[in-house]
């Protein structure tokens, strides 16, 4: 798996379009949020929650979907499956670099948020929800990949879920509306956004914060089940 992961990092770095999507776009958005934080209420939790959703959406969801579609289209997956490595090792090798890269980016950006504002009261809870959001977007990428024929198509097929997740995050953080809590929590990443904002300010206790991982993990589970149904290693002819 490590051999594939190393090659994948190399490919990611050398493919300027994917590298830009995975690194520059989320980082640009992060800088924008930090610079304009006062317009978003100024709270570190709000900025952090938005950044986690946007960066994981771009860096994991869109990038992983695009990467997998590209590797399938060029028959690299078929070639890798012609070797001794197991399927899980192949997928792991392709996806681990995407996730690791994204987590590193998040750490840098969240450190910048802390440096320019306040430290989260329940930092561990933020970390738990980062992991949940990463898992959700990874599973959603696997499911969306099943519906995506080419890397170009990935730019379109990922949009509905990405916009839904971003919309939910903005609805919760920017409007502060609490009239539709059940609906907000049921949207992809919605519950985690609520938990991250609360964990940062200390208004959401640990137990409640942990329970809020459940809707996010439920999205991951549903996406995984869909991915299993839609899964294919080779392009459809």
């Amino acid at each position: 798996m490590l051999h594939i992961a190393r090659a994948e990092l190399r490919m990611l770095w050398r493919n300027k379009v994917v590298a830009a999507c995975a690194v520059l776009m989320p980082l640009a958005f992060a800088v924008l949020l930090i610079v304009m934080r006062d317009r978003f209420g100024g709270a570190g939790g709000t900025i952090a929650a938005l950044q986690i959703i946007v960066m994981a959406g771009f860096g994991v969801y869109i990038t992983a979907t695009t990467t997998l579609a590209a590797r399938r289209q060029t028959l690299l997956l078929k070639r890798l499956r012609s070797t001794a490595i197991a399927d899980a090792g192949i997928l792991g090798g392709l996806l681990v670099p995407v996730v690791v890269l994204n987590v590193v980016q998040l750490l840098i950006v969240l450190a910048a948020v802390v440096a320019t504002g306040e430290f989260p009261v329940n930092g561990w809870l933020v970390a738990v929800h980062v992991a949940a959001v990463e898992a959700m977007f990874l599973a959603l990428a696997l499911a969306t990949w099943g519906l995506t024929g080419t890397p170009e198509q990935a730019q379109i097929t990922t949009m509905p879920v990405f916009i839904l997740a971003l919309g939910a995050a903005m609805w919760i953080t920017l409007t502060g509306s609490r009239s539709q809590v059940a609906l907000q929590r049921s949207l992809p990443g919605g519950a985690s956004v609520e938990a991250i904002v609360g964990a940062w300010s200390g208004t959401v206790p640990g137990t409640q914060g942990l329970l809020l991982t459940l809707p996010t993990l439920a999205w991951a589970l549903v996406a995984l089940l869909a991915a299993i149904r839609l899964f294919r290693w080779e392009p459809r002819h």
Binding site: H3, I4, A7, R10, M11, R14, N15, R71, T74, L75, L76, L77, K78, R79, L80, R81, S82, T83, A84, I85, A86, G89, E234
Partner: protein, 307 residues
Amino acid sequence: MSDPAAVPIHVDRLTCRYGEFTAVDDLTFTVERGEIYALLGTNGAGKTTTLEALEGHRIPTSGSVRVLAASPTDRGRVRPRMGVMLQESGFAAELTAEESVDLIGAISGRMDDSARLLDRVGLAGKRRTRVAQLSGGERRRLDFATAIYGSPELVFLDEPTTALDPAARDHLWEVVMQLREAGTTILMTTHYLEEAEQYADRIGLMHAGRLEHEGSLAELVAAFPAHIEFRADPGSRELPGSFERHGADLFSLQTRSPQEDLLRLLRWAEAEGVGLGGLRCTPSSLTEIFRGLERHPEPVVRVGGRS
């Protein structure tokens, strides 16, 4: 039928269907250790599907395939002992030739030296060239390099010389023959009949998913009729045999006993005083047998062979 445990490739009544379409229909054959077996066939005959079933990429609808005495889907057991050259390249455009061989080699379960291997397939000067910049023929050679990485016991070559120039083709066959001398078993598909004639120990001819003929080149050719042809004006005289007439004066005969038929024809011509223009007798050839596949689908003919 050979013992599945004793032969590198054992295919027994393999059938692969895609929905209503039957790509491979009740296919049975074996490949012996150290043998080069060429699977030939018309377009869509089912060669690649057969190969993919043997490589573990396709699950058979029915029947069984055994590779190196194991299921081809048992990757941990089988893949370190077999190399695969796919019909299409399947490399990452962003990696260099050497990085591509390193990657596939590292997860092949075998050990080798990538630089030496690239040199062996004539790509020494392209080690640091990205796959995107390689020509079609160079990518085929790269593909071949990954298939023979670590000198596996069994190698699958799916149309290995497509897109190669004649010199590169000769070089590839040189390497294949070296592998064979070292005891490697090779199953290949090709559209170049002359390659099968020259290099294969046995040939399987597929058409519409079925194995129509199988045997060594000599056995296949001997099993099919020779062709006698001549021009004559016999008038009202009766010809010495069931010759077919084509147009005004062209006659032909498909025969399994060309010597006797030819002698009888010559005696008749002399006795009747008939001149035979353009007389020729040609033995059957792989090309003729191949062309006959679509014209006259026949039940499977197994001649000699080891299955």
